[in-house]
Subunit: 419 residues, 2 copies
C-alpha cells in the first residue's frame, strides 16, 4: 500500500472511522448542503429536519388556523419552561431552574444584575480580556446604569483569574469555552475558588451547551446563560437560555421585570410581583416561531449520551490537529487552541497572518469555518453531523489553499459584514 498518497490513505482511514462511529445515524437528522464541509456549527448550527417541519406546523397550523387560541392549545405560553427543561438536561441544571428566552446578551444583563444585588458592597466583576465582547459590553452598560461603582477587572491570561478573586469581587463572569481559542475553563474548580471568597459565578455556556459535558448543579454554579443557535441548532438568532441555581430563587430579583415574569401575568395587576423560581427571569412575550424551531431541534438529543458525544468531539478535533500537523507543516499555521483535549471545547483554532483571506479561500472551496479578528481561523466540530471524512477533506483543502497561496487572490481580501 506504500504507493498510495498519504491523502488517500488518511481519507480511507477516515471513512472506516465513520463506518464504525456509533453516532453516525445522527447526521441523517440534519439537512446539509451537498459539497460542503461545514465546520461552523459553533457559529450557526445546521438545520435539523425536525425543526423545519415544526416551524412549518407552527406557522400554518398553530398561527394560521389556531390563531390566538394556540397560546393555550399549542402550549405557546409554556415554551420558555418546556424548551428550558430540554436544555437543562444537557447542562445538568436542576428541574425548573432553566428557561429559554431573549438573547444571550439580554439574559446576561438579567443574571448579572441579580448577582450584583446579592453581593452588596463589592465592586468587582472579574472576567477575561478574551471573553466574548458582548459579555463585557453588558457589564459596562449595567455598571453605568446601576451607578454603584462596579468595575470590570479583566484577566489578560486565564491563569491569572484565580489570583484576582478577592473580597471586593462580587461576580466572576466567564465564558466556559473561549470563542476564539476553544480553551475550556475548569468550571467546578473556579466556581469553588470563587465561592470560598463569597463571590457569585455567572457562566456563559454559548460554546459549551451541546458541545461538552456540563453539570451546573454538580459544579454549584450560581447563574448561567447560553446560546440556542450554536451547538443546540435552534436556528439563526434562536432564543437564548438562562439558569438560576435553586439556592437563589427566593432572593434573586432582576430588573427587566416584564409581564411574562409576573406571578400572574393575565391578572393585569398594576404592580409587579415576581413569579416563583426562574420564571421571574422572563420579560416579554416569547418569540414563538424561533422557540418552536429550538424546541424541535432539541429533540435530536433524545437518545444521545453526552459522554459518547464528547468522545467523538475529542476524536474529531484530534484528527484535525494531527492532520494539520502532518500535512500543513511550514505553511504558516500556529495552533491557537490548547493541545490537551481535556482543556479544549469542540473547536480548533489556528492563527495565520492572512487568516481572513485564507478562510475566504476555504469557503470558496466548500470548507466552511470562520475568521475571528485579528488572525484566527476557527473550525467547529459538531459531533452530531460532522464526519471523520469531513475532517480529512478539510485538512487537504487547507493544505491546498496554503501551499498554492490561493488566498492571495484579490477577491479574498475585502472584508464583509460578517465573517
Amino acid at each position: 500500500m506504500d504507493h498510495l498518497e498519504p491523502r488517500s490513505r488518511s481519507r480511507d482511514e477516515a471513512l472506516a472511522r465513520d463506518a464504525a462511529d456509533p453516532l453516525r445515524h445522527l447526521r441523517e437528522r440534519f439537512e446539509l448542503p451537498d459539497g460542503v464541509v461545514y465546520l461552523d456549527g459553533n457559529s450557526l448550527g445546521a438545520l435539523p429536519r425536525a425543526a423545519k417541519d415544526r416551524v412549518a406546523a407552527t406557522v400554518s397550523r398553530e398561527w394560521g388556523r389556531g390563531l390566538i387560541g394556540s397560546w393555550n392549545e399549542a402550549g405557546w405560553v409554556d415554551l420558555p419552561a418546556r424548551v428550558g427543561a430540554k436544555i437543562g438536561r444537557l447542562v445538568g441544571a436542576e428541574d425548573g431552574s432553566l428557561v429559554a428566552t431573549d438573547s444571550t446578551s439580554v439574559n446576561l444583563f438579567k443574571v448579572l444584575a441579580a448577582a450584583l444585588a446579592l453581593a452588596p458592597g463589592r465592586r468587582g466583576v472579574v472576567s477575561e480580556a478574551s471573553n466574548f465582547p458582548t459579555d463585557l459590553y453588558m457589564v459596562e452598560g449595567l455598571a453605568a446604569l446601576a451607578g454603584q461603582g462596579h468595575e470590570l477587572r479583566l484577566a489578560q491570561d486565564p491563569e491569572h483569574i484565580e489570583a484576582m478573586l478577592d473580597g471586593d469581587v462580587a461576580v466572576l463572569m466567564l465564558t466556559h469555552v473561549n470563542y476564539r481559542t476553544g480553551r475550556m475553563h475548569d468550571m467546578a474548580a473556579l466556581t469553588k475558588a470563587a465561592q470560598e471568597r463569597g463571590i457569585l459565578t455567572v457562566w456563559d455556556l454559548a460554546h459549551s451547551a451541546g458541545a461538552v459535558p456540563v453539570d451546573l448543579a454538580d459544579a454549584r454554579a450560581d447563574f448561567a446563560v447560553g446560546c440556542g443557535y450554536k451547538y443546540l441548532n435552534g436556528g439563526p438568532g434562536a432564543p437564548a437560555f438562562l439558569y438560576v441555581s435553586p439556592r437563589h430563587w427566593a432572593r434573586a430579583a432582576q430588573p427587566l421585570s416584564g409581564w411574562f415574569g409576573h406571578a400572574a401575568p393575565f391578572r393585569f395587576d398594576v404592580g409587579y410581583a415576581p413569579a416563583e423560581g426562574v420564571r421571574r427571569f422572563l420579560t416579554g412575550t416569547p418569540s414563538v416561531i424561533g422557540m418552536s424551531a429550538l424546541d424541535a431541534a432539541l429533540d435530536v438529543w433524545d437518545d444521545v449520551e453526552m459522554a459518547r458525544l464528547r468522545e467523538k468531539s475529542v476524536a474529531l478535533c484530534e484528527a484535525f490537529i494531527e492532520g494539520v500537523e502532518a500535512r500543513c507543516a511550514g505553511l504558516g499555521l500556529t495552533l491557537a487552541s490548547p493541545r490537551e483535549a481535556h482543556r479544549r471545547g469542540s473547536q480548533v483554532s489556528f492563527t495565520h497572518e492572512a487568516a481572513y483571506a485564507v478562510m475566504q479561500a476555504l469557503i470558496e472551496r466548500g470548507v466552511v469555518g470562520d475568521f475571528r479578528a485579528p488572525d484566527i481561523l476557527r473550525f467547529g466540530f459538531t459531533p452530531l453531523y460532522t464526519r471523520f471524512v469531513d475532517v480529512a477533506d478539510a485538512v487537504e483543502v487547507l493544505r491546498d489553499v496554503l501551499e498554492s497561496r490561493a488566498y492571495e487572490a484579490e477577491r479574498f481580501q475585502a472584508r464583509r459584514a460578517v465573517t
Copy 2:
C-alpha cells in the same frame, strides 16, 4: 321588505358594503380559518400568506443551504434596520430612526433608561394606571436598578395627565391606544404639553402601529416602542420595534449595550463603542426567523393608504357599536370604548358582569375576541382582513349568547392560562 328579519337585512347591507370596499382585495393576502370571525387581531394578527412562504424559505434555503453565509448573502445582519424602515413608514418615523428588535418590554427598558439619563435631577415618570401592565413593571425594575429615586406617577383618569406634568417629571410614558378600552390619546397635543415643561415622551404604539394613522416625526415624539404581532401581523412573539428621534441620536445611550449595538460588532473590541443613530439601541443577535416573518408581513402594506385603512376601521367599529346597540340592548353590555370615533383606536370593548364566560361562549361559536380582566369583552377590527359581514355575524352571535344565557354553562367558567 318588511317581512325580513332585521338580522338578514343588516347582513345583506353588510355584504353590499363589503362588495363596495376598496380594501376588500387585501383579505386574500391572509390565511384565515373557515367558519371563524376573527376579531382578535389586536392580540395576534392573522397569518399573511407571504409570511408563511418567507419563513419556509428562510428555514430551508437561507438557514439549511446558506448556513452561516446567509448573514451576508441573505442580509440577515441588516434585518433590524430593514424591517424597521418598513414599520417606520407606517408610523411616520424619520429615515433610519426605527429598528425592529427584542420584545416591547425590553425595548421600553432601553428607551426609558435613555430618556431618564437625558433628564437628570427629575424623578417622575408619569403614566396611567390603566396602561398595559408590563410597561409599568419595566419602570419599576428600571427605577429600582438605577437607584436614583425615580417614581411612577399614575393618572387614574386620562384627563388628569396634563395636570401631572410638572418640573419634577422626567418622562411621560403612555400607550397611545389603551389596550382595554381602545381609547386613543392625542399624541401631538400631549407631546407638546410635555415638551413645554422639559419632559421627554415615550409612546407605546402596540395598539396603534398598523391600526391608526401615527406620525411620530410630526408629533415630535422623543421615543417610541411597539409590537410586531398585533396589527402588523408578524406572528406570535414577533420582534418588537423601537424609535428614537434623530434629535436624540448624538446623546442617547442605553444600558443593554450588546454587540449588535456596537459601532463595529465584528471587530470584537474589548470596550463598548456605540453605533451611530438608532442602531446603538440594538443588543444581541437578531431573531432571524421571527424577523423574516415580520419582514414579509409588512409587504402586505405596500399599496395600502393609511387614510383609507382608518376610514374602514372607523366604519367597522361604528357598525359593531350600532349593531350591538340595536340588537343587544338590555342584555347587560356597557360600551367601555369612547363613543366618538376620533378618540378610539381600531377596537371596541364592552363590559359585562360575566365577561369571561361570555367570551368563551362566543369563541365556541366561532366569534373570536378576547377577555381582559376584570370584566371586559374586547373586539379588535383589523381592516386588512375584517369584513362588514363579519361584524354583522358577530353582533348576531353575541345577541344569541346573551339572550339564551348560553354563557352560564359550566364549561365556560374555568379560566385558562391565556384568554
